[in-house]
Subunit: 436 residues, 2 copies
């Protein structure tokens, strides 16, 4: 018998599982494509029917059931490229550099796979931020590469500092051969948004050290900070001009799972490759893209070309977009967390997560050790046992020695977030008292 009635699982960036509703426009178009008989009724808005017609027109036999071209439906990839160029204020995007996949992690894993040199005397190294989400760390290590951690500066709102990149690179000497620098912007788990200046510094560093830049930009549509703005690595690279713009190797990842749309179950993503070694591009282009379903490709088109002002679906779309559910959630989480002594959270400017620091009392740390657990895991286990709220401990994302954190997703319904925060506040106050 547990002291709680239901589990509130806010561990993962899986918005639909946390009560977030799918976008009506997206689902209507996909439904009409699946069952085109729906288009004969006028219940679906005109732009929905038009988009569905357009998409089906790009399929052999006008059916989502026919095989798409192996590298993806060409017209969709062309529109994606135009959309990327629009995002970047006109910086050109070559459709031949855009590769669809069943998700951004799939693309990333395959790129790392081809970058890793199994036969070199030194292991291939990849610089990763600390904290960093788990899937990338797992991909890197399971492919036989070494993780070279660089620490983000929590005190400076999780800023990425070039001196720290330098230190990390030095630390790798003799242990492995670092060839790539992985960055996450907007951050996961730490919700920072990099400034243009910070991105410029990173690009200069990558150029000087000849590192391939792997830019995880899947939360590009999720920026809440009033003074924050998402600027892509691709755009900054183009703005910097030669020699940077035509030499620095960059892979930028995006996904229909993340951000505003949150369609994790459709399995769709892409990577844009800029200046990459032709061997890498060749390997990626020869991969079996038959893994990406037609509907996932349609979802990429819908994500990158949402309704525009004047379209029948625009008002509802815009209303949901502007409802600022996430802004509200972030504000609430930030306020509650920072009001509790022993919890402290940097500003959350983007992404899907809150990653506050927990200042655990020595007695709690001692108790965790006795139970053979990391201190923040102990905290999270207690929270789960006493309240049914499931969050993850900072140790899973790596953290500076002697610091402890917790992570939870704010891409959830307000009800879910309210409940989680209420339980967290009660639990935390009692926990701190018990172990003081």
């Amino acid at each position: 018998p547990k002291p709680y009635k239901e589990l509130t699982d806010v561990c993962w960036g899986d918005p639909h599982s946390l009560g977030v509703k799918p976008l009506t426009f997206v689902r209507q178009v996909l439904a009409a494509c699946v069952y085109p008989e729906l288009m004969s009724s006028h219940k679906l808005p005109l732009d929905v029917r038009q988009r569905a017609q357009w998409l089906l027109g790009k399929c052999e036999g006008g059916s989502i059931g026919s095989y798409p071209a192996s590298a993806g439906i060409p017209e969709i990839i062309q529109r994606m490229s135009k959309s990327i160029a629009r995002r970047d204020g006109g910086v050109p995007c070559n459709p031949e550099n855009v590769f669809i996949s069943p998700g951004s992690q799939w693309s990333l894993t395959n790129i790392i796979h081809v970058l890793v040199n199994d036969e070199a005397p030194l292991r291939t190294g990849i610089l990763i931020p600390v904290p960093c989400h788990v899937t990338t760390i797992t991909s890197i290590t399971s492919l036989g590469a070494a993780v070279v951690p660089y620490f983000l500066s929590e005190e400076h709102g999780w800023a990425l500092q070039v001196e720290e990149l330098q230190r990390a690179l030095e630390s790798a000497k003799g242990g492995c051969n670092p060839i790539a620098l992985y960055v996450i912007n907007p951050g996961n788990p730490a919700g920072y948004v990099q400034s243009r200046k910070s991105i410029q510094e990173v690009i200069r560093f990558a150029s000087e050290k000849r590192l391939v830049l792997l830019a995880d930009e899947v939360y590009q549509d999720c920026v809440y900070g009033k003074n924050s703005e998402f600027v892509s690595y691709k755009k900054v690279l183009a703005e910097m001009g030669p020699p940077f713009s035509d030499t620095v190797e960059l892979a930028s990842f995006h996904s229909v799972s993340k951000g505003f749309m949150g369609e994790c179950g459709l399995r769709g993503g892409y990577v844009e490759l800029v200046n990459l070694d032709p061997n890498v591009v060749n390997y990626i282009s020869n991969l079996n893209y038959d893994t990406t379903s037609v509907l996932a490709q349609f979802a990429l088109d819908l994500m990158m070309n949402p309704p525009r002002p004047g379209d029948p679906s625009y008002p509802l779309y815009n209303q949901v977009r502007n409802a600022n559910m996430l802004v509200q959630n972030v504000k609430m989480a930030h306020e509650v967390v920072n009001s509790l002594p022993g919890l402290s959270c940097q500003p959350v400017e983007g992404g899907a997560f809150v990653f506050p620091r927990v200042f655990l009392p020595p007695r709690a740390i001692q108790k965790a050790k006795e139970e053979g657990m990391q201190p923040d895991t102990f905290y999270c286990m207690r929270l789960l046992e006493e309240t049914g709220v499931l969050i993850t401990p900072g140790c899973e994302y790596r953290q500076k020695e002697g610091t402890y954190h917790i992570r939870f997703c704010i891409m959830a319904s307000q009800d879910t977030i309210n409940k989680a925060l209420k339980h967290l506040a009660t639990f935390h106050t009692k926990f701190m008292k018990d172990f003081s």
Copy 2:
């Protein structure tokens, strides 16, 4: 300026591209899952709405947009197992042996990948039938394994003869180390259906020679021969009892792309592993199954659990099922082809293709050589240029030296097949006359 108005492409097993309509039941359920608002109207049959409810109930948050469990949605895999057991007259199927994927070729490639030993002095060999569809040959060679061909006996309706397996195995000696035997039943490109007796012989051979059986059974629902019946390798293996049933290693592949449903664009398939080395099972179970979309998993459920008598959707489903479009197409193709001197086709008992032999006149063979082409490629090129009908030459599937074939898909609308056959007949008669 071409002498034809439109292209008739009957190369590939891609029914929806060839005018075949999707199954209404399948599309209605998927549309309701994508856009659950459709369920509030009574326009969709009750069983469609019930199935959609059941499927959505297995998704976190009731949405196809949430992440499915990494190895697939457990309840769907359980129902698939029951369905496999039902197909096999009650032979048990353990859900832990069923692995979903974005297609049967994806599963096959990954199994071959783990079977291939890169470091052994002799290359790993895999026995494959001749003729064999191209994708498997490509997978095997691109993974560094050697193809060991065994010839099916065209004179005996493309029968698989054990003496020929024996010959092929002997021929490999010293050149490679054969470890697996790939069989296709029902056949592709040659439309045979193996008898129980033939399967028993193959299993005994695999057992004696310690070969892993890789059984491509994706056309299991496409059997037309009056006296033909699909019996799975799994069922025959179980019937044979020990020591066969608990030692012979078997992988059986199926897909939503093939057969009756023909949903190639959804990217869904599975493999069932029986008696396989735990290392192989472990590798397969650890693969990133996040590649298979929720809708592809739903499609697997729908394929394996179609409407039953009494369900509102059953009459229409059964009508389409019994319309025998394919039976008619096969009959027509067989009649036309065998009525033309110089073309000869064995009975087509199953699968999606017709693979007749072409007896090319020496002058045509000579002309092909002059143009640097395989003789049957020359024939197909001429057919394309003169009529716009696109088929594939037998040389792409391998064939006995000095014999020539053509392949085309009969899983198409009757209109498409009629048109293709009419053009073929006119072209062939003229071609034979021109080169006689």
